[in-house]
């Protein structure tokens, strides 16, 4: 896999402590796929984490649930772990990959063959 095609897809950092939580949330915020948030009570929510505010009192994340509905706000303090469970929609479609598929289409070959 080329550098521009590396992804966090499938990453499970396990239970995160307070020091690590901010970093994992930043990565989830930057991730263009769904994540699964595990709460302190064991409950899980899968969806797209589109916002976070570490400076708010209390700090929170906002998620659009994959199942649909309005955005859900979850305080940092309730988050035990975040798993990167959804497909990374920004990965695997690099410019190089597009050029390969274009060339393949022109020659009538497979888009994955190059």
């Amino acid at each position: 896999m080329s550098e521009d095609e590396r992804t966090l897809e499938g990453w499970n950092p396990g239970v995160v402590d307070e020091a690590m939580l901010g970093d994992v949330i930043e990565r989830a915020f930057d991730y263009r796929g769904d994540v699964t948030i595990v709460r302190g009570d064991g409950g899980e929510l899968t969806g797209y984490l589109f916002n976070r505010d570490a400076d708010a009192r209390p700090p929170f994340v906002q998620v659009f649930p994959a199942a649909g509905g309005d955005a859900v706000t979850i305080p940092y303090a309730q988050i035990r772990s975040i798993r990167f469970t959804g497909r990374d929609t920004a990965a695997g479609n690099s410019y190089a990959a597009w050029l390969r598929s274009r060339e393949a289409a022109k020659t009538g070959g497979s888009t994955r063959g190059a």
Partner: protein
């Protein structure tokens, strides 16, 4: 330049009112993104890489209008995603026109002919279709990663013009663009009869597939100087001449990141149309709590280092034109003579 007088007047009086109120930061154009869904997947675009359930979401007309009222900018640009895929685009545009907002509906025009035939829009001086055209057929189809789109866009433009609509084009330029080919493109757009063209260098979105072909500052100056140093009088640009001169390296402007604030399904985007560093619930919160000093060319922020994109620098150029004699004189000169 081709910006209609009534629009220029609206913008000029708006800017002067803001200055008289001693308002240091104010928006010029609201970037209203009702959806992220698109019928293209261009290599230079970082706007559409989301899970399916996010792409299926869109703002309601009421949410859009509330954002427009809250922001107060005299112009509203509707990008996306592809706004012609937004199911409420007709009613939304009608409401904005009723409110006398100058609307730029930014479209790839694939659906334009079809939507015009459906009678979704009525011609108005407040409504302009801003058609995405990244050059002549070869360059455009390559930029949008699909053959045949250029011809579809031309068909859409012709139909819109035939029906009496205002049509402009918006062009993003990437590394490797040929000044000569772009000049041929300007001729072609003028032959078609578009009202004016908008140009901007591309921005290297971190989520865009193509990271290799974004222009850096020096190359931007060289390309725009080559393209525009001796412009044909028939070329009309629907943007501030000072912004074009900035791209040519004639002005040293700083970014105005709050000039084109962005609202979408996530809220008010911090800090600008291009960077996604978080979202505010309200426009007031966006303006008052964003650390603006951390953005712009001189801030030292790596993400802003090479950016010369219109959404940050055109507001600076417009403000300069209406708030300094030097800027005003240069704008009048360029407008009257057509020289840049």
């Amino acid at each position: 330049m081709s910006v209609p007088l009534s629009q220029m007047w609206t913008v000029a009086t708006y800017v002067l009112q803001q200055r008289l109120r001693r308002n240091r930061r104010y928006p010029l154009v609201l970037m209203l993104e009702p959806l992220f869904r698109c019928n293209l997947a261009c290599a230079g675009c970082g706007k559409i890489q989301y899970p399916g359930h996010v792409l299926r979401k869109h703002l309601t007309v009421e949410q859009c209008l509330a954002a427009v009222e809250e922001c107060g900018a005299p112009m509203v640009s509707i990008p996306g995603g592809e706004p012609l895929m937004y199911p409420e685009i007709g009613p939304l545009v009608a409401e904005l026109v009723k409110r006398r907002k100058y609307v730029y509906l930014c479209t790839n025009a694939i659906l334009l002919k079809e939507k015009l035939e459906e009678g979704l829009f009525a011609p108005s001086k407040y409504l302009s279709f801003s058609v995405h055209m990244d050059g002549l057929r070869e360059e455009h189809d390559e930029a949008v990663c699909r053959d045949g789109v250029y011809d579809q866009a031309i068909e859409g433009i012709r139909e819109a013009l035939r029906r009496g609509f205002r049509v402009t084009t918006n062009t993003t330029l990437f590394d490797g663009a040929s000044a000569m080919r772009m000049q041929m493109f300007f001729d072609e757009m003028m032959d078609l009869g578009v009202e004016g063209m908008m140009l901007s260098p591309g921005y290297s979105y971190s989520k865009a597939p193509d990271q290799e072909h974004f222009l850096r500052r020096q190359k931007t100056h060289e390309l725009f100087s080559k393209m525009l140093s001796n412009p044909k009088p028939r070329w009309k640009f629907n943007q501030s001449p000072l912004f074009l001169q900035f791209l040519m390296g004639k002005w040293d402007f700083e970014c105005t990141p709050w000039g084109n604030p962005t609202f979408n399904i996530f809220g008010w985007q911090r800090p600008c149309y291009l960077l996604q560093e978080g979202y505010a619930k309200t426009f007031k919160e966006l303006m008052e709590t964003t650390r603006w000093e951390g953005y712009g060319h001189k801030s030292g922020n790596d993400k802003c280092k090479d950016c010369m994109v219109h959404c940050g620098y055109e507001p600076t150029a417009v403000n300069y034109a209406f708030t300094s004699w030097k800027g005003f004189k240069a704008t009048v000169e360029a407008t009257l003579t057509g020289r840049l």
